[in-house]
Symmetry: C2
Subunit: 215 residues, 2 copies
C-alpha cells in the first residue's frame, strides 16, 4: 500500500520534471541540482562558482531549506535573483515546487539556475526536478564510506565534488576507496577534489561546469 503511493508520487514527479526540462530547453536555461549532506558546503561552493561565472552568464538561485532563509540571504548579497523554497519539514525538493517557482524568474534573461537542494544524502536523489545535470558534494570530514552507504546519490550524479579537501590531513579518509566506489556505481561520473576555502581544484570544477552549461 505504502509502496504504491510512493510509486505514484514518483511517476507524477517524473512527468512534471520532463515538463520543466522542455520549458527550460526552449528558454536556453541550464538548471543545476546541487546536493549533499548538511554541512558539505553546498552554499559556499555555489557562492564561489557564481563569483567565477557571473561575468559570462546570467545566474539565478533557488535555495531549498526545511526552514529559515539563512542561505538565501547570503546569496542575495551576491546580487543575483534568489527564491527561497521552504519545504516546511520535507526532506527533498520535488519537481512541482520548481515548476511553481520558475515564473518568479525572468527566464529570457537567465542562462543558469542553481538549485541548492535540502541537505540530505538520501531522498533528494530520488526526485528529478527538471535539472540539466546534477552535482553531488561529499566533504572530507564526512568519511570515506559514504558512497557505499548512500549509493543512489552517487549513482545518479554527473559530478562528485570532494569538498574541504584541505582537511584531508586531519581525517582518516581513503580517497582511493571513495573514487573506486563512485566509479563502480557510476562509471561516467566526473570527480573533483576541491577546497572552497583555499580555492584548490575550483578552476577544474568550474571549467567542467562551463563545458556542461555550453553543451
Amino acid at each position: 500500500m505504502e509502496i504504491k503511493v510512493v510509486h505514484q508520487i514518483l511517476e507524477w514527479n517524473e512527468d512534471c520534471s520532463d515538463g520543466i526540462k522542455a520549458d527550460l530547453k526552449e528558454k536556453k536555461v541550464c538548471l543545476i541540482n546541487v546536493m549533499g549532506s548538511p554541512g558539505a558546503g553546498k552554499t559556499s561552493i555555489i557562492t564561489s562558482v557564481i563569483g567565477k561565472l557571473s561575468g559570462k552568464y546570467d545566474i539565478g538561485v533557488i535555495e531549498g531549506d526545511i526552514a529559515g532563509q539563512i542561505d538565501a540571504e547570503k546569496m542575495k548579497s551576491l546580487g543575483v535573483p534568489v527564491v527561497q523554497l521552504n519545504t516546511d519539514g520535507m526532506c527533498h525538493i520535488e519537481a512541482m515546487s520548481i515548476k511553481n517557482i520558475l515564473p518568479d524568474f525572468d527566464l529570457d534573461k537567465l542562462d543558469i539556475i542553481f538549485v541548492e537542494n535540502i541537505g540530505n544524502l538520501v531522498c533528494p536523489a530520488e526526485f528529478n526536478i527538471g535539472e540539466s545535470f546534477r552535482v553531488a558534494l561529499l566533504s572530507i570530514p564526512e568519511g570515506d564510506d559514504k558512497v557505499e552507504k548512500y549509493p543512489l546519490m552517487f549513482q545518479t550524479t554527473d559530478a562528485l565534488v570532494l569538498n574541504k579537501y584541505d582537511m584531508i590531513r586531519y581525517f582518516d579518509f581513503d580517497e582511493q576507496r571513495v573514487t573506486a566506489n563512485a566509479l563502480d556505481v557510476n562509471p561516467d561520473v566526473e570527480i573533483f577534489k576541491v577546497s572552497n576555502k583555499t580555492g584548490e581544484g575550483m578552476d577544474e570544477f568550474v571549467a567542467w561546469l562551463e563545458r556542461k552549461i555550453d553543451a
Copy 2:
C-alpha cells in the same frame, strides 16, 4: 492528498512505537535512538560508549543503513549482538522495523539496545521507534547553522552531542550560536562537547547516559 497519507503513516507508526515502549518497559530494556548526519560519527560514538558501558550493562545494537553492512561488521567485532536493518533506500527507520527485529534479541538478557538511525538530519526525527530517549549528533565540520536549518531533529532530542570537538580550531564554528539555538527550540536538551578521537568530554556524556538508563 499526499499529506493525508503521510499523516496516516505517522499515526500508525505512533501506535507501533507505543507498543514497543510497553514491551521494553516490561523487559527493562532501554532503547536509545542515535541520529545525525552522514559522517557525524554515530558508529564511532556508539562503539566507544559500548566499550565504556559493557562492564556494567548487557548491550545490543540495531544498525540502520540504506545499503550494506559496514557498520554492523564493526559492531560485531565488539562481541555484542547486532542486527543489521537495511532500509533498501528509505531515509529513516520506522517503528514497525524495530518491532520485527526485537525477537532476534534475547530481551531477558539485555539492558540496552542502541539503534543507529540512517544518516539524515531530517526524516528520522519524524518517526518515533519506541525509544526510551534520543541522542542527536552534530559534528563541528558540519557548521554552526544546522540547528536553525533542521529544527525538528534538535527540538525532539534529549541530548545534543557536538562531536569532533577537537576540530573546532580548524573550522569557523560559533559554539554559542549552536547552544543558544538548541536551547531556544528545546530548553531541556543536554549539550555535550566531545571528541571521540581524543576522548575529550566522553566521560560526562557516558555519565549522563548511565543516569538516563538507570532512571
